[in-house]
Symmetry: C2
Subunit: 451 residues, 2 copies
């Protein structure tokens, strides 16, 4: 019967439940906010039955963000780069995952206010990351979606694919071309990846499939306000990235500021450019939860932490990942990349374990730079490992191997490799499906004509 | 420069465009409405350069609907069972795909009114299929989503996964159990598949991952108003399906009518059952486009066609697939299944080609029954090939091989097989990600608490 009676669990299987949550648990309680690279690394490091760990995220999955642009450009399906947080931590019996959102933090009471209830902690690790920012132009968000979540990726995929569909249906040449003009704002790694892949789609994936319009007439423009692409890399690699992008068919404009974005396109300085598809890869702002810590924030909203990664007067509260403003030993800031977030998460967890053992000595965080990689498109990438720099096909292979290796879970790696091998040989991109509420004529919302 | 100038196509590649669509094309024009099994089969059969074909669909992908329940239950990713219509027809040079929606048909003028423009035809094949129906209870749709599109599948996946998350967060035993009660309405193939898979998820996939609630306390109830499950199969197979479902942990109630559905659960007769997750697999209604043909419709809204599958006074207009009400030679109706839609689509195309050759002799459609298969869950299925009937593990293998074989495209088949092999050995379901606008706390819409 389906009712409120409780059917006893199958006696053949072990009971998976922990003691009644109403009963007080005497163990020290570590609360982790955020299931990204920093939060997951911390949770795994805290695999110790003498403490209990609660991981809070408002999404049910960990996302392998370095490959999110592949979902946005229809090369990978979402499940290939996302794994349920519960699945990742299922064997770690001291860890509980809750789908919820932290809305406030009471440092004095050591209590997190969630959207559904509260949670007391002995130690807190805040790892809620960053989101994209529009530098005070929040009205641009509607026209130029950014890329931080799977839903963002679906929005971009939908708009890119529908732009070519609109072009196919459009008889007026100027209006058709506006659907074939793509502008990517921001010349960091995400912008470079998006622009290179868009050019590949237009030139190689789609041409044979359209009868009235020609996808090869698509223009992909990458705009960067600063003087060069990929500012985190050495200047000669920036130049190589630019040349590789241009070879793929991308037009690159550095030193160019976007002054307006609306439904018709972008304005560069005072020059309007018609483009129905604009993608935002320019600004990053730390999670607004950082403001709840009442600590000094830097310009990007990040929390200034001690060398040990905790709050100055709260050694029990750590901030890791993109939300933390931390410095390397040479004074340079720790970069906002996945390896740094992982290292910080592990460091915070190790400091907590040390303190529980009674070790009070301060142990500053040291960032180990494992090098930087950025892919540009088909068989093109740049790589920088200390003083070793290279680019082109070999860098692309290194990038591919590194990214597949770091994807969580064997199954994902295998399927991702197959997807890529298939896409490489056929130029096909298998995830080219349009779904969601602004689908053409779908769900009563006819977005693409207006946007 | 990105502007309205048109960049010439790369001269190294062949021009893919056809003659200017503004110029009249002297060839006979076949318009196909709908890119499902019927429409795609017709388009492929019409691969003849002496005619031109235009396929209209409001979605950009063909969907392998028999496996849609696997997307709804997080076993497969959406791209594994969907292929872009353009990709399917990319090598067929006489076929154009347009993403649009037919809103009216003028039989006298031989013209289709689209959401964006009009299209004149010499022959028309209407293959817009069916959707789910709530028997006059459209208000139930909000609480009990059906399963016809990928967006439907995402909605079901989201609600099922979030129900377990709510249960984990809920301390009140009665409210927790309401989140763990699942009701599937309708005992046809879709209902049986959904119920069996839900039981598998609750008993095998999730238990180790929750700490406060026990997913094995989930109740899955399958309700069917008629006297038996799977009415399209022989009665002894219905009984076998029931027993296999019960072995998987599903409670089956036949001869039971649902009288109400709301946010608290369902009412069976006059007995209310609390259940926060209700899935609808009960009713099918033909596409509303059938009403635009001004022909007699049957009870399910399907169009009565001649034995040749065209409209009585319009031999140039064919109706195929789930929208057509056609009879077999023994008077029994042609069933609403994928093989029938394919056969009807091919028949309509062959009749058009024959008439263009001057062959006016009537050629009635004959449905070839290749047998019926329904899967029930892990290693359980029923099969019926003429007088040969079997069930259990062997039927499940036949079902698996048949469905992988018929999936369009080699790549999909391989990845689907890998997904299944992986799921089989590990009980894991790799597509367990929650996305979309009613995500918990996401996009300002906190659906699951209300629904």
């Amino acid at each position: 019967m389906v009712d409120t009676d409780v059917r006893p669990p199958d006696p053949l299987q072990p009971d998976t439940r922990q003691p009644d949550p109403q009963q007080p648990d005497p163990r020290q309680h570590v609360v982790i906010l955020g299931g990204g690279f920093g939060g997951i690394a911390a949770a795994r490091q805290l695999d110790d039955p003498s403490i209990r760990v609660t991981l809070i995220d408002r999404r049910n999955h960990h996302l392998f963000q370095p490959l999110l642009y592949q979902v946005a450009t229809a090369g990978l399906s979402a499940p290939s780069i996302a794994a349920p947080l519960r699945q990742i931590l299922r064997k770690q019996r001291n860890a509980t995952v809750l789908l919820d959102e932290a809305v406030d933090i009471d440092l004095d009471q050591r209590r997190v206010q969630l959207a559904h209830g509260t949670l007391d902690y002995d130690f807190l690790i805040v790892a809620t990351g960053a989101t994209h920012a529009y530098f005070g132009h929040d009205d641009w968000a509607r026209y130029a979606p950014g890329l931080k979540t799977l839903d963002d990726a679906f929005t971009i995929r939908r708009r890119v694919l529908l732009a070519f569909e609109h072009a196919e249906r459009e008889d007026d040449p100027a209006r058709r071309q506006a659907w074939l003009n793509f502008v990517v704002v921001g010349g960091g790694a995400t912008g470079v990846e998006l622009a290179g892949t868009l050019a590949e789609i237009a030139r190689h994936t789609l041409p044979r499939e359209f009868r009235r319009s020609d996808p090869r007439r698509a223009n992909v423009l990458l705009v960067e306000a600063g003087p060069r692409l990929l500012p985190a890399f050495a200047p000669d690699l920036s130049e190589k990235a630019r040349r590789q992008l241009e070879r793929l068919g991308v037009e690159v404009r550095t030193g160019t500021a976007v002054t307006a974005i609306d439904g018709d396109g972008v304005t560069l300085g005072d020059q309007p450019l018609p483009a129905r598809t604009v993608l935002w890869a320019a600004g990053v702002a730390a999670s607004p939860l950082g403001q709840k810590l009442h600590m000094p924030l830097d310009r990007a909203g990040r929390v200034q932490v001690t060398p040990e990664l905790n709050l100055p007067h709260h050694p029990e509260v750590f901030v890791v990942g993109d939300l933390a403003s931390a410095s390397q030993s040479d004074g340079k800031p720790v970069p906002g990349v996945a390896p740094a977030a992982k290292q910080m998460g592990r460091h915070a967890a190790l400091r907590i374990l040390a303190r529980l053992r009674g070790d009070k000595a301060a142990q500053p965080f040291r960032y180990r730079d494992d090098g930087a990689l950025a892919t540009i498109g088909r068989m093109a990438a740049v790589a920088q490992f200390g003083r070793v720099k290279f680019s082109g096909l070999f860098a692309w292979w290194v990038w591919l191997v590194a990214h597949v290796y770091f994807l969580i879970g064997f199954r994902n790696r295998l399927v991702v490799l197959l997807d890529w091998a298939w896409a490489y040989w056929t130029y096909q991109r298998h995830a080219r499906i349009v779904t969601g509420s602004d689908e053409l004529h779908g769900k009563g919302e006819a977005l693409p004509d207006e946007v």
